[in-house]
């Protein structure tokens, strides 16, 4: 892709892209830290996540501001237009990811009082790892401008959903075993749900990135494997 005749246009676009990249890496570290603080548990780390959310919000506001100024000033067309609109939408998703990470971090103290079974922590950690991989993957595929990678990434969200279903069943089992676990397990359930939501936002981002790169929308249909709605057979 050649440079614009107006070089300031390129600089503006690069600034917006830089902001998106900053938001993605911030989102990634927030999710990472939030799950770490949950598993260890570490309430100081959790506090940090909560404070980082404010940074995320300000980044999003700055990006919106820059993007609107650029549209007003330069009337971008074709891939430039898609890049700007995509950036705004991605920023929205990233901001939501930040919120969800903060929500996980806020539950750290509530969960930390009870002792979490080793296996349970393992499954949540696995799920968090999957989510982190997705977040990382979306940055990489977008930077590599690989629509195929983005499609694959979107399909991989299924794995998170599958994992979420199993975590859900596991938590149900714990709660049935011992009623004292219910509080912690409910919090953990919310955390797992948040991780699953983060996965969904990553999927959104992948779809947006795909549109930015190709100019085409991915078909609405996608495999949905959330089976938590299915009645659970009595264990």
């Amino acid at each position: 892709m050649g440079a614009h005749t107006v070089t300031a246009f390129d600089e503006d676009l690069q600034e917006i892209e830089g902001l998106v990249r900053d938001m993605v890496s911030l989102a990634r570290s927030m999710v990472d830290e939030a799950t770490q603080s949950l598993i260890v548990p570490d309430s100081a780390l959790a506090q940090r996540v909560v404070s980082e959310d404010a940074v995320m919000d300000s980044l999003q506001r700055r990006l919106d501001d820059r993007a609107i100024t650029l549209i007003g000033k330069r009337q971008p067309m074709a891939q430039d237009l898609r890049a700007i609109v995509g950036a705004i939408r991605m920023a929205g998703d990233l901001e939501r990811i930040g919120d969800l990470a903060k929500n996980i971090a806020k539950r750290v103290d509530a969960v930390g009082q009870s002792t979490m079974p080793r296996e349970l922590a393992r499954s949540i950690e696995d799920m968090a790892e999957l989510v982190l991989e997705q977040v990382q993957g979306v940055i990489e595929e977008y930077s590599a401008r690989s629509p195929e990678g983005l499609v694959r990434l979107r399909d991989e969200d299924e794995l998170i959903d599958v994992r979420y279903t199993s975590v859900f069943r596991e938590l149900l089992t714990y709660m049935m075993e011992d009623a004292r676990n219910i509080t912690a397990c409910t919090h953990l359930l919310f955390c797992a749900k948040n991780l699953e939501r983060i996965g969904d936002h990553v999927t959104n981002i992948a779809e947006n990135a795909y549109y930015v790169l190709t100019g085409e929308q991915l078909p609405v249909h996608r495999p949905k494997q959330d089976e938590t709605g299915v009645p659970v057979p009595a264990a």
Binding site: M1, A3, T5, F9, L81, T214, E216
Partner: protein, 274 residues
């Protein structure tokens, strides 16, 4: 040879698309080429102009878009060393056929130019001139009606109704251009060609003309050459991109401005040329 068959294939595909959408083809260019002396300015252009749609021709200066436009009503005939090859049809008839009279053709395919060029006559006479030479009005009352309806369609009537006998050159630039559009409408053409009609106008006058183009689409088929991508995006349903005398890409306007196929189109509309 290879390129030729490819573009013709494209035309065939476009025809299928148009047929599927139940669109009528008003004008059809097949392998249109234009030579100025020995220099070829336009190469094998295949383009469909759909009825009651606005087709925008865009591209950098000297890309052949105006040249192509001027082929559509044979204005290139007035240039001495210009030669047109290929075939252009209007309602399926070859307009470069011997049987087609160029004067009649131009009464069916009118033209509006870059610079407003009202005749140095009264506003009334500017409009009445075309109907008069073609004998389209039987009486003075007929003519008054033609003038009034043309001015109304061009959205100019209310501004000039009290001064129809004043010179058309005394109007503002935007009014002059709408007067020229009214003048073109007055002979009831089927197609109106516009060669950068807003390039000499201020933004408000431009907006008026664009609004007018959108209204005119109901009754006429419009082909417009424009340098403003935003304008093409606003007024047209189909956009054709020219570059160095070639038709690079043609398609629905929304697609052209969000996701063009050709790299040259992309570079041109995003401002990455040269």
């Amino acid at each position: 040879m290879n390129v030729m068959s490819e573009t013709t294939l494209e035309n065939a595909v476009n025809e299928k698309v148009a047929a599927a959408a139940n669109e009528r083809i008003k004008m059809r260019g097949e392998k249109v080429g234009v030579f100025y002396g020995d220099k070829q300015a336009l190469f094998d252009v295949d383009l469909l102009v759909r009825q009651n749609q606005v087709t925008a021709l865009i591209g950098p200066s000297g890309c052949g878009k105006s040249t192509f436009l001027r082929c559509l009503n044979r204005m290139n005939d007035t240039i001495d060393n210009a030669r047109v090859v290929g075939k252009i049809t209007l309602d399926g008839e070859d307009i470069y056929d011997r049987d087609i009279d160029v004067v009649e053709l131009r009464s069916r395919v009118g033209m509006v130019f870059q610079k407003p060029n009202p005749f140095p006559k009264s506003i009334y006479d500017n409009i009445a001139y075309g109907p008069r030479i073609h004998g389209l009005a039987r009486s003075k009352a007929d003519m008054d009606a033609v003038v009034e309806s043309s001015l109304k369609r061009a959205g100019l009537f209310n501004e000039v109704k009290d001064r129809l006998n004043e010179p058309g050159t005394g109007l503002s630039g935007g009014q002059q251009q709408r007067l020229c559009i009214a003048r073109a409408i007055a002979v009831s053409p089927e197609v109106i060609l516009m060669d950068e009609p807003c390039s000499a106008l201020d933004p408000i006058a431009t907006a008026r003309v664009e609004e007018l183009i959108d209204e005119l689409r109901e009754n006429y088929t419009i082909v417009i050459v424009t340098h403003s991508m935003q304008q093409a995006a606003r007024v047209s349903q189909r956009t054709a991109m020219f570059h160095l005398g070639n038709l690079v890409e043609e398609g629905p306007t929304e697609k052209m401005f969000t996701n063009p196929d050709d790299k040259r189109t992309q570079d041109y509309i995003t401002g990455r040329f040269g």
